[in-house]
């Protein structure tokens, strides 16, 4: 069982990264009723901004803050500049998917046009290895887990105990009713895109800190698992996104390491397929049900 613990440990690191991203993705959907498929490319963009800072001699943690802020601003601008104008024209939901995907493709290949297909990495030390209960982490990985815990706790506190958070939850469940109660939906939507954009950027940067490789496709590879985690947990639900991230992250790593590397993608597929057949609204389905994602 020694090695099982080892792979659970790897899974926890993956789950932490997924967690940050999935909470951001699910918040965007919850409040804006929109699947932002440019999310993966935004993660990559943030990681590259952090790379620029880092390559110009900035400390990695300063670069991390810089990249996170850049992603926050980029997400906000994408929503204000492109998504909202399309939605004001009563663009259908499917067409919005094409819009966000188109933006994602432009972003991703814009990055590739600048940096090419090469691999980059941050100038940082991975730290020493630490053994905890049969699991093996580098100090960087422990920091990543710590960041995930702090970030998701902060989101939880925000949603549960602040006025803004309550307004966000109200808009997520019933936008019209929230508006009629005097909540400024516009302000709520703007702050959501700033917040979820920051989470998106953070996820992209800690991903690169963990795997030590950055290229134009970095964010997209993780984005698949982020969507799977958010859908599994119940799209729109922050706690669901955390649960989904832990399940997908740990199961994928354990299946890959403990059974066979070939099972990594298969296990994610089986979980998702089973969920779609049995409970298409996901584990925590309150927002998903309110938005009628499945009947």
């Amino acid at each position: 069982m020694q090695s099982l613990a080892l792979y659970v440990g790897f899974g926890l690191v993956t789950a932490s990264i997924l967690c940050i991203g999935a909470v951001g993705f699910t918040l965007q959907f919850g409040i804006s009723n929109l699947f932002n498929l440019a999310f993966g490319a935004t993660m990559t963009a943030a990681a590259f901004v952090a790379y620029i800072g880092n390559a110009h001699g900035l400390n990695i943690w300063v670069s991390l803050v810089l990249g996170t802020l850049a992603a926050s601003l980029l997400s906000f601008l994408l929503n204000r500049g492109i998504y909202l104008p399309f939605r004001r024209r009563a663009t259908s939901r499917f067409t919005m998917i094409m819009v966000t995907l188109g933006v994602g493709i432009i972003l991703q290949f814009g990055i590739e046009a600048i940096w090419g297909g090469d691999d980059f990495s941050y100038n940082m030390s991975t730290g020493s290895s630490v053994h905890i209960a049969g699991m093996l982490f580098t100090t960087t990985q422990l920091t990543v887990i710590g960041i995930a815990v702090v970030a998701t706790t902060a989101v939880h506190v925000l949603l549960r105990y602040t006025r803004l958070g309550k307004a966000m939850r109200a808009v997520a469940v019933n936008e019209r009713l929230a508006r009629n109660c005097g909540i400024s939906v516009k302000a709520v939507v703007d702050s959501t895109w700033l917040l979820s954009g920051a989470l998106c950027g953070l996820a992209g940067i800690v991903l690169v800190m963990d795997v030590q490789v950055l290229n134009a496709g970095s964010g997209d590879d993780l984005f698949v698992l982020i969507i799977a985690a958010a859908v599994l947990g119940g799209i729109g639900s922050a706690s669901g996104a955390i649960a989904g991230a832990v399940v997908i992250g740990v199961v994928a790593e354990v299946a890959a390491g403990f059974i066979n590397p070939e099972f990594k993608d298969i296990s994610a597929f089986i979980i998702l397929a089973a969920m779609l057949l049995l409970r298409p609204t996901g584990l925590f389905s309150s927002v998903a049900t309110a938005k009628e994602v499945a009947r």
Partner: protein, 345 residues
């Protein structure tokens, strides 16, 4: 024309036919029935892989440098037919995952994730279709007819053209039939179609199957010409290209997929061939993708119904007893692809 030029043009023509076949299959699903199958490309891949392993000899041939299942070495028309069948069955199977009716955009991202995971699975499983390296040296049909490369290419282009024509006619017949009307009813309003006694789930599974089979045919025609197929041939972005082709050409119309397939994948993607080489090797392909993305956004903003919008289906009596007041054409068709209400829903 010189030999090299003829070779190039013939290759473009073949790719054009393949894209037209695929786009008309997607049009049946997305344009006519309103099924948002963002995993469309995996059915083309299924057809291509199927044809490959059916025409290749046993896996141990050629020094066993590639590993794959089957290796039956079947003669020409069989792999094409079996590929269509396999892709169609796979289509029904994946469609069955979505029998719980999902919201349009939710279905789209779920299918997108399935497409990406499928790429991962085929890449991981070395023994299935030779993993990331993919299959190569796939035998071409009717090579015994001629020894000239150029003549062979034009011969193959003619074959692809015939297949393409058959598919277009079949899709046209299906769309204009009473069954096609039912499919459009499902697109416009599922509940109303169900209330009229249409089995919505069965109709959706049917187009998942037929559309999948058409995609399989396109993959089969493509792979028997290209002779190689790997996970990088069917990235999810290829599905995006086909959807863009439909939106540019005209969603749901008969000739829209043809025009769209010629403009987007063939002209836009091949247009960069005439740009002078500049910058690093990834620059020109990247600009190509950016162009496709920008073209999509521009069309969605300015011409959301495409170059050839779907003709409004009207049912006029043969000799009208009373004059019919023409209805404004902004009704059911085209504008709102989900058949949904206004914003904020």
């Amino acid at each position: 024309m010189s030999g090299a030029w003829q070779f190039y043009v013939a290759t473009l023509v073949i790719y054009g036919f393949v894209y037209i076949i695929a786009a008309s299959g997607l049009n049946l699903q997305f344009g006519v029935t309103g099924v948002y199958n963002f995993a469309f490309i995996i059915f083309q891949a299924a057809g291509a892989y199927c044809t490959a392993v059916l025409t290749l000899g046993p896996s141990s041939a050629n020094g066993g440098f590639q590993h794959y299942i089957l290796g039956l070495h079947l003669p020409f028309p069989l792999p094409l037919l079996v590929s269509a069948l396999v892709a169609g069955v796979l289509g029904v199977g994946l469609g069955a995952l979505t029998v719980r009716r999902l919201r349009a955009d939710y279905l789209a991202i779920v299918m997108l994730v399935i497409s990406l995971i499928a790429t991962g699975v085929v890449t991981d499983y070395q023994g299935l279709f030779n993993g990331a390296a993919g299959l190569a040296l796939i035998p071409q049909p009717f090579v015994s007819v001629t020894t000239s490369l150029v003549v062979y290419d034009w011969l193959y282009a003619a074959y692809a053209g015939v297949v393409c024509l058959l598919v277009l006619v079949a899709v046209r017949v299906l769309i204009e039939s009473p069954l096609g009307r039912s499919l459009r009813a499902v697109r416009e309003n599922e509940n109303a179609a169900a209330a009229l006694g249409k089995n919505v789930t069965a109709l959706r599974l049917l187009v998942f199957g037929v559309g999948g089979a058409i995609a399989g045919i396109s993959g089969s025609v493509l792979v028997a010409f290209a002779q190689a197929w790997s996970p990088s041939s069917w990235l999810y972005a290829e599905t995006f290209v086909l959807f863009t082709a439909l939106i540019v050409g005209g969603v749901g119309s008969n000739l829209g997929p043809v025009i769209g397939a010629v403009i987007v994948p063939v002209v836009l993607a091949e247009g960069s061939r005439y740009l002078p080489q500049f910058g690093p090797p990834t620059l020109v392909p990247s600009l190509e993708w950016i162009t496709i993305g920008v073209v999509l956004l521009v069309f969605l903003w300015f011409w959301p119904r495409g170059i050839l919008p779907e003709r409004k289906h009207t049912f006029l009596p043969a000799s009208p007893a009373r004059p019919l007041t023409p209805q404004p054409t902004r009704g059911l068709v085209g504008k709102n692809l989900d058949g949904e209400g206004g914003p904020g829903r």
